[in-house]
Symmetry: C2
Subunit: 424 residues, 2 copies
């Protein structure tokens, strides 16, 4: 089929989509709503409705304290092991814990205290990284000592960071290279093996934030020999709002790292209530306090759907869909002043597409209020369209671009003041 801006073309693509049936596995109560913000908060799997009832009514209500042993103590590692399969890690290298921010703090703090980084004082990151990552890295650096600092490599185009710029920043004083694998705004995707290798050659550890990758992008932490990773479960994994985050530590590092927030869930003999802390063997030592079970338990149904569909197939559809969206942009939106804010090469682009327009904020509001299309907006001028190949259809993308086109061409956004909205 030849690309066309016609809606019939979109419908034919949906008919040929071998993953189309997965949409039925999600709650889609309003078929008129075009939801393109699954990269902030994924949709609700139908299975999670049953799971919520079971966890609350049966496990909590009936099982009471007994459910800790029967259902909950093992949950972080059990679901972590499933996520491990999505990111090319071993079962015992991934757990669920806390928030992405807290996990990033813990792993950064741990990285700065392993023998290998002793005497090294620099953390290297970039300005494409999610802002909270920058705050957390600076927090951890400050606690590590006055001479430790965070070096932020600047993106020359606000969209990508050249390998050479990273290579220049990473040197023999670098303790840790901490980057988002897929950038939250532009969807730029780093070459994980190459950057990891670069860091390792300089003697540094590397930590990847997989928040905008996991569930959408094939990642192989093991084959790239990645040291540390964190990531969200409420985006492409559809784990629910604020669901606990993933935390990865390569197996051969696990015995040498120390959790800077040592708590009873990471104690080697948690229920003995020893006055002295002894870290558990393996990844469990990175746990701290009591995990929020209801939020934790609802991660699994979304992960199961991704496993069932397969990350490679999801990635193939995602690439095809982002290409389709960019094709529509080129024909319909570029003439109206929209710039592409994501890399053009699919292998350097994640599962969302950024479109920039000086009136982006007001246009986003008009899309939501008038057109029943939900993208999200990132200051100062970026609309993000998140494509979740488990449930996003080509027809939805066509409707979103048509709406964007009409709202902009007709100036229907001009009734709005310039206020922000949206949460990743």
């Amino acid at each position: 089929m030849t690309f066309s801006t016609d809606v019939h073309y979109a419908r034919r693509l949906d008919e040929q989509d071998e993953l189309a049936a997965f949409r039925e596995r999600f709650v889609v109560d309003d078929p008129e709503l075009v939801y393109l913000d699954g990269n902030s908060l994924g949709r609700l799997p139908k299975q999670s409705l049953d799971r919520a009832r079971d966890v609350v009514a049966r496990q909590w209500g009936q099982g009471l304290i007994r459910s800790w042993n029967e259902h909950w103590l093992d949950l972080p590692r059990r679901v972590g092991a499933k996520i491990a399969r999505l990111i090319g890690a071993a079962d015992d290298e991934v757990t669920l814990a806390d928030s992405t921010s807290v996990n990033l703090f813990k792993l950064t703090g741990a990285a700065l205290r392993v023998p290998r980084t002793r005497g090294r004082t620099k953390i290297v990151t970039d300005d494409l990284n999610f802002p909270t990552d920058l705050y957390i890295l600076r927090s951890a650096a400050e606690l590590a000592g006055a001479d430790c600092s965070v070096h932020v490599v600047a993106s020359p185009d606000g969209m990508t960071v050249p390998f050479a710029a990273l290579a220049e920043a990473i040197d023999s004083t670098t303790a840790l290279v901490a980057l988002s694998h897929t950038a939250f705004k532009s969807a730029y995707v780093y070459d994980m093996p190459a950057v990891t290798n670069l860091a390792h050659e300089a003697g540094a550890l590397v930590l990847w934030d997989l928040s905008h990758s996991v569930g959408a992008m094939p990642v192989s932490l093991s084959s790239a020999a990645v040291d540390l990773a964190v990531g969200c479960t409420y985006k492409y994994l559809n784990g629910g709002p604020g669901a606990p985050a993933l935390l990865y530590v390569r197996r051969d590092l696990q015995e040498s790292i120390r959790n800077p927030i040592a708590g009873w869930f990471g104690h080697h003999d948690q229920l003995a209530f020893h006055a002295d802390y002894q870290p558990a063997a393996g990844i469990r030592r990175m746990l701290t306090g009591t995990p929020p079970i209801l939020s934790l338990a609802l991660i699994e149904p979304g992960v199961d759907l991704v496993l069932e569909a397969g990350v490679e197939r999801l990635r193939a559809k995602s690439v095809h869909q982002t290409e389709y969206l960019i094709g529509l942009w080129e024909c319909l939106l570029a003439p109206l002043g929209f710039a592409l804010g994501s890399p053009r090469e699919p292998e350097r682009r994640g599962s969302h597409v950024a479109l920039c327009h000086p009136e982006g904020l007001r246009i986003a509001r008009a899309l939501v209020d008038q057109m029943h299309v939900i993208p999200d907006f990132r200051a100062p001028d970026t609309l993000r369209f998140g494509l979740c190949p488990l449930y996003t259809t080509y027809a939805e993308l066509h409707r979103a671009v048509s709406a964007l086109h009409d709202v902009t061409r007709d100036g229907r956004y001009r009734c709005y003041p310039g206020r922000r909205r949206g949460v990743t």
Copy 2:
């Protein structure tokens, strides 16, 4: 009525209990089960069943990302303000966040960096404190610098700590006094105003862990001029397994403290995605990452029940119930070798009663398996009986003591090996 070990006496006490109707507000699917572990995990309020459905199906499933603005962003502070009324704090002094352990780390780290504690290197706590509190205090001390250390005041009887012992430990080098208001094992309750005053006179800050107090004990943080506090929501507040924890900072300290894990939920303009961190005004700066919404949202129904019953009335019933239980112990259990592991004076005792027996572990197992009575066990020899005045009946206490008596007298625990179980 004169105290009696007869079950009819227990039934008459239940008939006269003005809070008895609150039991109907909880899911009690198995009326034969005597659940005395509400100080580890409180029962499920019926209202929480509806709330869970609403949060998952409607707020997440239908509202999707829009629910952040409509329901979730304000949740930590809105429910925090309700909890503030239970602990004698102002609305804007309490928020919900993370786990108790992580909050303790954040507040301890913050306390060690305010101007008032500069040059002070000692954190004072005691060995009645919950083990994770000790681990966390040491973690925070270690990150604060090599000269910072945790001084653990020893309890001479494993049950209480004399005021004089604390007074001896707190000196001009003390930065922070961090204690559990109600001890997790013995239920010993500190004189909060007196200890707070002692710390303040030495120029130190004070941090109370309210985990075993909030919802069961009247506490007035404001009138005692308490600086900092944390606490669990899943015990006497019935917020659900691992529900996020409370965090309190006295208002006049809020602008001077810095969150050692600075994250985007504590940024003054969170959705502007600034590269630089600027703390929010007030308590919100102590938030870090995205909170686990499903667990967070289910805290409110339990808090509402405590507010409706009133902490003073709950405390009066709790005192009466613990006195009743101790009366039964004296007549029926002391002769079988059980020692009272809680203070005898009700004003120094929280809402659980500890009974110690050399065979405590096996006896606890027999109670659960054979008698359908759930206490919990804390190594090496302590059975805890948690009395939640919202739903615990006198008849249940009578049944529990009768079961304990029979199991012990008849040696019916001897079939069990010595393995641990239980989670607070």
